[in-house]
């Protein structure tokens, strides 16, 4: 059964949706209590003020409040905006240069550049833009992001120092397939996975000119691009006969071949990281509840398992000097963050309840998504590879946390490959 047949089968199912009259009556009776409380709240002074403020802000579909209320509200907003602007300007003025460059994050759709040293935050786009699929160039100068919706998705680039966004690959009718976009080492090109004419393909985009071309063959379903350290090849996950493997292809579309070898029925989640010498590609592969860390030798086109069978390991990242790998392993609560030597030996946990966001370019820090059981504590931050000095840069809004799940950080990039 193909994916299309399976989808049609699931969509074809319908049920008798006749309501039980007892449920209808009980539902209405219970809801009336809520309705009456809501009515009482809205009738109070605070309720009226809230409504007037909403109207003053001009929510579509409403008539405006009285000019006096509108004027006072807008004045209050202007003052608040001025204060916030001064605070941000002051914070940016204190910022000092640093080696790893800014961390670019989309928080609830708002694209921000964060100085990991001072914590200073600068907004990169006007309010209202919803940025997803964020990545940052290795040289730290440009961020790219996607906006979704409408008849197609749009890819944009914006200078991290500020300026107007510019659209890339503007002539293509494409849908972004939400894998992680990856930059060429020279910071000139971006590789991304998009659906073109119904097929997932790897697209290379010249960030300066916006020109784009597909690198994988038209008939091949291809996911999760990852640029090689020398810039000459891209690793990706081809989907063949219901199985996902690991392949490389030259950036001119030649020399396509498998590099994972026999994985004994396991399916590749995607290439996570190359070793800096370009000899190895690290990846995780899974089947049902089984998931292991591997590395594939580009030269011999075979893979070796790096982690023990008892450890359910996922997403990996190689340190910039190639000496260590970081990865996550399933735990009683979500995942824990581990570090090991690049051959998988000496694996040890460095942080409980930690997701992996890649390494800093100087190899001194690991970006983590810390999600402890207490929803008021977690955030996107950094930790040293020895497990010390955990520092939160973007606290997670507790309202966005549901246990391990977090829904407000819509993407981030720090210039390095990340799983």
């Amino acid at each position: 059964m193909t994916d299309e047949q399976l989808d049609v089968l699931i969509r074809s199912v319908d049920y008798d949706d006749a309501l039980d009259p007892a449920f209808v009556a009980a539902s209405a009776a219970r809801l009336l209590g809520h309705v009456r409380r809501a009515r009482a709240q809205d009738a109070s002074s605070l309720g009226r003020l809230g409504r007037d403020l909403r109207q003053a802000l001009g929510v579509p579909g409403r008539t405006m409040a009285s000019p006096a209320v509108r004027g006072v509200s807008l004045l209050a907003l202007l003052i608040l905006g001025l204060v916030a602007g001064l605070l941000i300007a002051g914070a940016l003025h204190r910022a000092t240069p640093f080696g790893n460059g800014p961390l670019v994050v989309s928080v609830g759709g708002t694209l921000e550049a964060i100085d990991p040293v001072s914590g200073a935050v600068r907004r990169l786009l006007p309010r209202g833009e919803r940025a997803e699929g964020v990545s940052r160039s290795p040289d730290g100068t440009v961020a790219t992001f996607w906006t979704l919706g409408g008849s197609r998705d749009h890819l944009f680039a914006v200078d991290v120092d500020g300026g107007e966004r510019r659209e890339l690959a503007a002539g293509l009718s494409m849908t972004w397939d939400p894998s992680i976009d990856t930059w060429s080492p020279d910071s000139r090109s971006l590789a991304t996975e998009v659906t073109l004419d119904g097929t997932a393909r790897i697209l290379i985009v010249d960030v300066a000119t916006g020109a784009a071309r597909a690198v994988t063959p038209p008939g091949m379903v291809a996911h999760n691009p990852l640029w090689s350290p020398d810039g000459g090849s891209i690793a990706f996950t081809p989907e063949l006969g219901g199985r996902r493997g690991l392949s490389t292809i030259r950036t001119d579309g030649t020399d396509l071949h498998d590099v994972a070898g026999d994985l004994q029925g396991l399916s590749v989640a995607g290439p996570d990281t190359w070793s800096p010498d370009g000899q190895w590609i690290y990846f995780s592969a899974d089947k049902d509840t089984e998931s292991h860390a591997f590395r594939a030798s580009v030269k011999t086109r075979s893979s070796e398992q790096l982690t023990q069978d008892g450890l359910r390991t996922y997403a990996m990242a190689s340190s910039p000097d190639g000496s260590r790998i970081a990865f996550i392993a399933a735990a009683d609560y979500g995942f824990d963050l581990w570090v090991a030597a690049s051959d998988g030996t000496g694996a040890h946990r460095i942080l409980a309840a930690g997701g992996l966001g890649g390494w800093s370019s100087d190899g001194q820090l690991i970006l983590v998504k810390w999600k402890p059981p207490d929803d008021t504590l977690g955030g996107l931050g950094t930790i040293r590879p020895d497990g010390t000095d955990l520092r939160i840069l973007v606290p997670f809004d507790p309202s966005c946390r549901r246990g391990w799940d977090e829904s407000c950080v819509l993407g981030f990039g720090w210039g390095q490959a990340r799983p």
């Binding site: 539902s27 894998s179 799940d405």
Partner: protein, 185 residues
């Protein structure tokens, strides 16, 4: 039902419905079947679950009434809330499964008699969906039934897009295998 009630009345549909008990009861009668029908299909025919989530949806709608701006029909907005309730439900199930280190296995009728009619096929699909782990069921419902982009499903499920894509692949694989055992013959 339109967002506005009349030229003279600038209140939106929800504000009118909440203004007095009789208006609410009328609005509730009108919108309840749509929300329930939306959820029932996504709960694989589990009526009691669909009823529970429907009730949660209406309570949330009343609590969040200020967020309804009248630009769409209220029932569309309600279904959006219902989708979040559904995602919450699947995430809770997934956490429970993870905590107990087991998959949710349901009783499955493996009668060998021929089951050629559409009702039996529907039931086979429903049983197959219910046999999937919560996260896999959720991703199939959001991506296949609701036709959401993977990124949107990822947001609902609180997972990364890459993890969601991988989850979708595994869900389709598992559905395929389970349905082969369940399908009417």
């Amino acid at each position: 039902m339109t967002a506005r009630t009349s030229v003279e009345d600038d209140r939106n549909e929800l504000e009118v419905a909440l203004a007095d008990d009789r208006a609410f009861e009328a609005w509730h009668r009108l919108t309840l079947p749509r929300v329930y029908g939306y959820l029932l299909r996504r709960c694989a025919g589990d009526a009691s679950l669909a009823e529970e989530l429907t009730q949660q949806t209406f309570i949330a709608a009343i609590d969040q009434r200020a967020r309804f701006d009248g630009r769409s029909e209220a029932v569309t907005w309600l279904c959006g809330i219902a989708r979040h309730k559904l995602a919450d439900h699947f995430r809770a199930l997934e956490r429970d499964e993870r905590r107990h280190r087991r998959m949710v296995l349901r009783e499955i009728d493996v009668s060998s008699e021929a089951r050629p009619d559409p009702i039996e096929e529907r039931d086979a699909v429903a049983r197959t969906l219910r046999s999937l782990p919560a996260s896999q069921r959720a991703v199939l419902i959001f991506v296949v039934l609701d036709d959401l982009p993977v990124a949107e499903a990822a947001r609902l499920l609180g997972k990364s897009p890459k993890a969601t894509e991988s989850l979708l692949f595994r869900a389709r694989e598992r559905f395929r295998r389970a349905y082969t055992d369940e399908a009417p013959r």
